[in-house]
Assembly symmetry: C2
DNA sequence: TACCGTTATATTTGCCCGAACATAACGAAG
DNA sequence: CTTCGTTATGTTCGGGCAAATATAACGGTA
């Protein structure tokens, strides 16, 4: 393979990884980061803002995950002290931890494949 | 993780894998299959037709690969006995073999990750 | 009870990417 | 020198999906 690519190692293996259900995508890197931001901020709207994402899109993603999972990943309440808020359920926290680990194994795979291009 | 997913194992890990250069995507599963069809048919247009792809799109993909690689992956000639044709160069055949193997390693990775969801 | 920031949801707008269409050149063969 | 199937390339068109916009409801608090 090394003969095919430039000496400066300009080429690399890359990819996308996700978990999908029968109907739709369930969890990918974008949804993972959204969950992590919800975990950090306690709010869907704050998480969306920090990611440069519209609230509607963020809410649609959360809705997709909550309806597909056996148990919701995000619990939210409208109204109240500061307008409301959202937090990860235990299932959500577990999903974040597990998929983050899966993503890291995938990145290790990609690094190994990139190295292989030049071995 | 097993508590998050249904007993019927409806969820699975999936993904996309490709090799990218400094400017653009270089080789993915779609381009790989195109190269394999060119290899089998000796023609860009026949390969495109069997894949249900427009000739222009197929040619654009071939052009992208040929301009990014150190050596062209596909050699083609217009005109002649039966209008011309196209064939993989040795570099093209090598790229097909190597990326096909990479893709199969990726599919093994996905199968292992899917199994892990329910372990 | 007015206010505030959030959740929740529908509708409209806009834009980009791919599909479709069009055209030219090539070169052996008859 | 016409025909044929292919390579080669530009341009136009349309649909689908993301973005933007709009609106309502919620429920503590002051």
């Amino acid at each position: 393979m090394h003969e095919l690519f430039a000496e400066n190692q300009a080429f690399r293996a890359n990819g996308r990884l996700w978990i999908e259900g029968p109907a739709d995508r369930f969890l990918g890197i974008g949804r993972l980061e959204l969950l992590e931001h919800i975990q950090a901020t306690g709010s869907i709207s704050k998480a969306a803002k920090t990611m440069g994402m519209s609230y509607k899109k963020a809410w649609d993603l959360v809705s997709s995950m909550n309806t597909q999972a056996r148990q919701p990943l995000v619990g939210a309440q409208a109204g109240g002290a500061h307008g409301g808020g959202a937090a990860l359920t235990p299932a959500g926290a577990q999903a974040v931890a597990e998929f983050r680990a899966m993503q890291e194994r995938f990145e290790a795979f990609l690094a190994a494949e990139t190295a292989r291009l030049y071995q």
